[in-house]
């Protein structure tokens, strides 16, 4: 019966993971997975022939208190490092379970079991130390930039080889010593593996470590002969791997690149003049749009250069189908000739009723959920309003910075006609989508179908 209830828990994990990967169902998915976990724990407690309830109760109480406190207190911006820390604890737990078995048996396992003990020890401890290095980097305790180690990747290769040899020894010898040695060496790999990776790449690393902690749990399952651990761990291990690859893709980096290049120290393709920008992907923009109730497009010269007018019209139509109100705010000098935007939007058959000029647009922005700026720059530059030293101070602008979210589509941070920088790009509520205007809008359109 226990096994079948564990199976139910496993099904809850599967369903939960599936739901977690869609925006509409994600919250429910999390709850389903949590329910599965609750079931698995309760089943274990009920079935258990307990020697001491005290330890269990104390452990759970302490752990729950710490976990809840951290989860509920930490600021939204610190989420990634928190996940890293939690993950580290997970790895530690798996390693501890294996250590416990090792301690209990003194190392006399059957070969195949010995292999799983080694694996859960090693993977668990790598996860543990690696996660806390990642945590430190993100939290600023350790420097975020990549740290060059003596020997570079050769060091890691050597450490990994040593661990493997120790593991093999452990598997055949039936002694405890090689297990302990493997544990020790592996705990170093967590440091030497993660320290050389830059802070910007940490999310990918954490995701990979997360996948590893799943494997560790699964191995621990083999060690203590428990299918719940095997299944749950394997699920997370595999799903985490897919997620890691997708995260790398979204950053345009392969996994190998992240792990072994050591260049991810915030090495963003675009020069941000030292100031940070929020780089968005088409999917981010699609989600922002899909959850808005009204959207204003602000076209500029870049729309004309990219010939993105048809794509924009298609996107607007897709939004209207979702009952999102759309409009176009046209600045008097957008483009390079009077009426430049009108020519293009008329060609794309945008109805005249959706076009608003400067006077009509500006009062709207405070009520606007998302403003999508496509290849406009000078005409949305807040320094024309705020900065008396700016050469364009006094020019009326479209005050898009008053909207809830601003998405700017352009190819880089380079300036427009007036040749001046635009503070809008560095606002916290601004997302920058760096791409050719037409391609960007087309990818957003493709992505919005999946939201």
């Amino acid at each position: 019966m226990t096994e079948l209830l564990y199976l139910v828990a496993a099904v809850a994990f599967i369903v939960g993971l599936k739901q977690l990967s869609g925006p509409r169902t994600a919250r429910k998915g999390n709850a389903v997975a949590a329910a599965g976990m609750f079931l698995a724990t309760v089943v274990t407690l009920v079935e258990l022939e307990v020697v001491s309830w005290r330890v269990i109760a104390a452990g759970i109480a302490v752990g729950a208190a710490i976990g809840a406190a951290l989860a509920l207190r930490v600021q939204m911006t610190a989420m990634p490092q928190l996940v890293a820390a939690f993950n580290g604890f997970g790895g530690a737990a798996s390693a501890l379970v294996a250590v416990y078995e090792l301690d209990r048996t003194g190392g006399g396992f059957a070969t195949e079991t010995a292999v799983t003990v080694v694996l859960s020890l090693v993977i668990g401890v790598v996860t543990f130390t690696g996660s806390f290095v990642a945590f430190g980097k993100l939290q600023g305790i350790i420097a975020g930039r990549p740290m060059r180690l003596p020997g570079g990747q050769a060091l890691n290769v050597a450490l990994a080889a040593t661990t493997a040899i120790l593991g093999a020894w452990a598997a055949v010898s039936g002694e405890a010593l090689p297990f302990w040695l493997a544990l020790g060496v592996a705990s170093i790999i967590g440091f030497t593996g993660v320290l050389p990776i830059g802070g910007a790449d940490m999310p990918v690393v954490i995701s990979l470590l997360n996948s590893l902690s799943g494997i560790a749990a699964s191995m621990a399952g083999f060690v203590i002969g428990n299918q719940a651990l095997i299944i749950g761990g394997a699920l997370v291990g595999a799903a985490g791997l897919i997620l890691t690859m997708q995260m790398g893709e979204a950053m345009n980096r392969s996994l190998g690149n992240v792990l072994f290049s050591g260049f991810g120290g915030g090495a963003v393709a675009v020069e941000t003049a030292g100031k940070p920008v929020n780089r968005a992907t088409p999917d981010d923009v699609a989600i922002a749009l899909a959850y808005a109730s009204n959207v204003l497009f602000v076209p500029g010269y870049g729309l004309a250069v990219a010939q993105a007018q048809h794509a924009v019209r298609d996107l607007a139509a897709a939004l209207e189908k979702r009952d999102i109100a759309v409009g176009y705010a046209i600045h008097p000098v957008a483009g390079r000739m009077p009426g430049h935007m009108n020519v293009l939007l008329a060609e794309a058959d945008v109805p005249y009723e959706q076009l608003f000029d400067l006077e009509q647009s500006n009062p709207k922005f405070t009520q606007t959920d998302v403003v999508l700026v496509i290849g406009a720059n000078d005409v949305v530059n807040p320094s024309a309003r705020d900065d008396a030293t700016s050469p364009i101070y006094g020019m009326p602008i479209l005050e898009v910075d008053k909207a809830r979210t601003v998405v700017v589509v352009k190819r880089s941070l380079s300036p427009g006609f007036a040749g001046i920088d635009n503070p809008l790009f560095y606002e916290p509520d601004t997302m920058m989508l760096f791409a050719d205007g037409k391609e960007a809008i087309e990818s957003v359109l493709a992505a919005i179908d999946d939201v």
Binding site: I330, H331, P332, V333, A334, P338, G339, M341, N342, V343, A346, D349, Y352, L355, D357, L358
Partner: protein, 380 residues
């Protein structure tokens, strides 16, 4: 066979019924083509091009077995032709009694492009369509020249210019092209026609249809006349759209009947000064009160233009299309190196309004008889 293309240009007529391409085809058929000198000049075709295509350039264009014309020859010109000569082209056979009479008197054969049936099959010869198409385009270009308004919307540093508003009344071939052209220029276009199927056609060009009285067309696809109460309803529905328009292009026609009055003098008076009306139906009485053929009439600040042959303005392309229509028609009657008319032919038979001095087309016959009655009444 001898084919003649005489010079017929006037102030409002600049087309030719042949272009070098079609001359070359006729030459290939073994026909001898004579064109009057300078005939291609408004179309930008030098005489040499006709020569290169095999034609003779000379004054004897009227002395031929087949004379191709772009407008009805004068009765005098007809009277000088040898009996049996075939005159083909625009002959205005349902309105111009002199031409029909002249053809009969001189025992000529008249093949009228206007009488080609408007069937799917005859479309390649349908010169009314090809020329109406150009006229629709021309009307909007002319209107945009005459108007003090820019057509496209422009949001600029010097203020926002709203799009001009264009109203097209009568959505046949010319009306549709007028809509398309005004839309291209960025105007906000409204249109109305009495035939219900035109609503879809108007919308297929991205313009808006004005919902007013509609009446199903006759079997030939032509509009029928509406009664007085329906006309009043039309006027009522159109009033606000007329008042709001910067340019109105009217093209409504009913075959064999005077053009329907769609814009009354009162409606014109509600228009903004500077507005322009182009009445393409001016020749058959006009769709707009006060319009006069080939004249510009100012009513208050509104200008009414009644051009009757706008297609001819675009002489090169109008001639090219007309010549293509003509050669398609000639090909249908060609046997070896001759042009033979089979009165039973569903297309050529219809188009041959007069055969060797005998009036074949019922509507031309009606016209002649009505005229005779009127004359004899006048005489008595």
């Amino acid at each position: 066979m001898q084919v003649g293309v005489p010079h017929q240009h006037t102030d409002t007529e600049r087309r030719t019924p042949v272009v070098p391409d079609t001359v070359a085809t006729m030459t290939e058929w073994g026909w001898n083509v004579v064109v009057s000198p300078g005939i291609g000049e408004p179309s930008g075709i030098p005489d040499q091009h006709f020569r290169d295509a095999g034609a003779t350039v000379g004054e004897e264009a009227w002395r031929a077995d087949l004379v191709l014309v772009v407008r009805p020859p004068s009765p005098h010109q007809l009277s000088e032709l040898a009996p049996g000569t075939i005159v083909a082209g625009f002959l205005d056979p349902f309105v111009d009694v002199d031409t029909i009479g002249g053809l009969c008197v001189a025992r000529l054969t008249g093949v009228a492009l206007e009488a080609i049936p408007r069937t799917t099959l005859a479309q390649a010869m349908d010169a009314l369509s090809s020329q109406a198409n150009i006229a629709g385009y021309a009307a909007v270009i002319l209107g945009s020249m005459e108007s003090p308004r820019l057509f496209p919307m422009m949001v600029t540093a010097a203020g926002t210019i709203p799009p001009a508003r264009v109203l097209v009344l009568g959505v046949g071939v010319a009306g549709l092209q007028a809509i398309a052209t005004a839309k291209r220029l960025g105007a906000s276009v409204y249109a109305y026609d009495v035939r219900p199927e035109t609503k879809e056609q108007v919308e297929s060009l991205g313009a808006r249809f004005v919902d007013a009285v509609t009446v199903a067309a006759d079997a030939g696809g032509y509009a029928v006349e509406v009664d007085e109460s329906a006309q009043a309803a039309q006027h009522a529905a159109l009033t606000e759209h007329v008042a709001a328009a910067d340019l109105i292009v009217t093209t409504a026609q009913i075959p064999g009947r005077p053009a329907p009055l769609l814009v009354t003098a009162e409606m014109v008076s509600t228009m903004r000064p500077g507005s322009v009306i182009i009445d393409l139906a001016a020749a058959t009485g006009g769709n707009v009160a006060g319009s006069r053929p080939d004249e510009t009439v100012a009513v208050g600040g509104v200008r009414l233009l009644g051009p009757t042959n706008l297609a001819s303005q675009y002489a090169r392309d109008a001639s090219r299309m007309l010549a293509r229509n003509m050669i398609a028609m000639l090909e249908r009657g060609r046997t070896d190196d001759h042009f033979v008319i089979d009165p039973e032919d569903e297309i050529l038979g219809e188009a041959t309004v007069v055969l060797d001095g005998e009036v074949l087309h019922p509507r031309s016959r009606e016209l002649l008889e009505a005229n005779r009655t009127a004359n004899s009444e006048a005489a008595s």
